[in-house]
Amino acid sequence: MTKNIGILNSVKPRIKEIRLSLYLLSRNRLTRLSLVVVILLILVAIVSPYIVPYPEHIETEANPRDKLLPPSGKYVFGTDELGRDIFSRVLYGTRISLQTALVAVGLALVIGIPLGAVAGATGGIVDEIIMRITDIFLSFPPLLLAIAIAAFLGPSLENAMIAIAISWWPWYTRIIRGQAVSIRERQFVKAARAIGTSPVRIIFGHTVPNCIAPVIVQASMDIGGVILTIASLSFLGLGAQAPTPEWGLMVSTSRNYFLNAWWYSIFPGLAIFVTVLVFNLLGDGMREILDPKTRKI
């Protein structure tokens, strides 16, 4: 009886917390708006292959008769130089951008968090080595480093993700490390050591959970930046390749038709703009609720 209650209740506090966070998030009007748009974007990303009006236009199919048509009832955002529906492609582009951004940030977190936690929790020479390597990476402008790595690996969307992850992890390492150093001196870490917890367990069971919050905020704010970077890389020809409906790539190709077909560059550009903006706004909102100093209850 008691046992069952224990197991059942163990889920409850988490849900309570999530609900509280959502409530706090939705209190700021701008944050609420961005939250709605982000959720919308995620939905679009999930269902886009099934809802777009011209699924066949997403990849290769050419339709020369309808090329470079202005927005109309048939083609909401107009068509491109191959007669493909830009609306379908922009919608599908959401999926690509969010996916690559999430993977790139996730990869950066996977590299950055353990390194930072180990550096901060261990200290001494290990800390020194990890943080100096981090400094080397930080000394390059992130976009430049990403361009260099993407160029080195060869142009493709996967390589662009790897390039972004490599140029992004040092930021997370730094944040985690700073937190981890302060956690190291906390009593509960000493207590954990006193009952024989192994260093690895202390790092992943105590250090990481206690300093993850600022990294989550940073990561959610970075998603906007990463989407922008992917678009930049694609624009430069170092990211997504030809038939892929990637926003940056679409903007890049549209340059040739810019004077005659404004809709071709405007809509993918708007998509980038809106997505980056809402993710940044949401990130700001999250920082506000996760930092008790700026939280207003």
């Binding site: 163990s10 367990r201 105590h206």
Partner: protein
């Protein structure tokens, strides 16, 4: 003497910017299995350092164990590898820290924390660990274990938290418990509850307890034997009765006089030496600067622990001369 747990000739130094400082220098301390041994001293006397040294948890630098041996059931702890020590900590020797407010990880529920410890020590299923955790919470006399399980540390009171900490410390079947001022920051009624709990658990589970406190009153209530620690050295040791009835060291008398008594008596301020320790020259009695009864001999050689009858030993030159100069400490009742 049993020799279940023995410290011999332990010297711990702190090496800092301006040279080394000896913070622990204990010739002999031994515990029998199942007894409660109290260590008393004011803050800065080296109590916590001693506890951490036993579990080899001191950070070095700055702390270095210069010399000595710590024997636990005949095993030399100072020669163990870090890996072996991890097996001893928790499973055989466990520790409770002084501040229950910060000993628990704030991001997990207390139940989760007990379960984790249980699962990391013996590979059991989550379900079984949850059941065991509930039993542990029952064991430390917290009502409604199922509800407590899902509380975060900040939702519990200091006393409740300290009980959880005790549950965690004992959850791995430790035979020896180092309790480092377990009742600090708790108010007196809660203190009494925790002390009673430790005493009961000790009887039930037969654990040996090394009880560290800065208050002679607490120790006299729970321990059989005590040692008075001053500036890293034991200045007086014996059974509680011997030491409290017939304190031979001026420092012990200061500690006794500092306890507020019942019956409307105020703390005997004149007899309490509040003064800070001033550093004294090497080879002097370490208590020299504060001692109210100091004599020339105290400057010539440092006193060593010498028996004064029974198990009672004290490190004071004056204690030997005609059984305690300056009268007995007035502890009554």
């Amino acid at each position: 003497m049993g020799g279940y747990f023995e410290i011999k000739n332990l010297k711990v130094d702190f090496k800092t910017f301006d040279g080394g400082k000896n913070v622990i220098n204990i010739d002999n301390l031994s515990l029998d299995k199942g007894e409660t041994f109290g260590i008393v001293g004011e803050s800065g006397a080296g109590k916590t350092v001693l506890a951490l040294a036993i579990l080899r948890l001191l950070f070095s630098p700055p702390a270095f164990v210069r010399d000595g041996s710590i024997l636990f059931e005949g095993e030399e702890l100072l020669k163990k590898t870090e890996r072996d020590m991890q097996k001893i900590r928790g499973r055989r020797i466990s520790m409770i820290f002084q501040d229950p407010m910060s000993t628990l990880n704030p991001v997990f529920t207390v139940g989760e924390q007990i379960v984790r410890v249980l699962r990391s020590k013996n590979r059991v299923s989550r379900k079984k660990a949850v059941k065991e955790a509930l039993e542990m919470i029952d064991m430390v006399k917290l009502p409604d274990a199922g509800r407590i399980m899902n509380k975060y540390p900040h939702e519990l009171s200091g006393g409740q938290r300290q009980r959880i900490v005790i549950a965690i410390a004992l959850s791995c079947g430790a035979e020896m418990l180092i309790a480092d001022e377990p009742t600090r920051n708790l108010d007196v009624t809660i203190q009494a509850g925790i002390l009673k709990l430790i005493a009961e658990l000790q009887k039930e589970l037969g654990v040996t307890v090394l009880f560290i406190a800065n208050n002679l009153g607490l120790v006299s209530a729970t321990c059989e034997k005590i040692a008075i620690l001053h500036s890293g050295r034991i200045v007086e040791t014996g059974t509680v009765r011997e030491v409290l009835k017939d304190p031979r060291h001026p420092y012990t008398r200061t500690l006794i006089n500092a306890i507020p008594k019942n019956r409307g008596q105020r703390v005997n301020v004149e007899k309490v030496s509040f003064k800070e320790d001033k550093s004294v020259c090497e080879g002097w009695c370490r208590y020299y600067s504060r001692c109210t009864e100091k004599q020339d001999i105290c400057r010539m050689q440092g006193p060593v622990l010498r028996p004064v009858g029974g198990m009672h030993m004290t490190a004071c030159h004056l204690a030997l001369k005609g059984g305690g100069i300056g009268g007995k400490g007035n502890i009554e009742g």
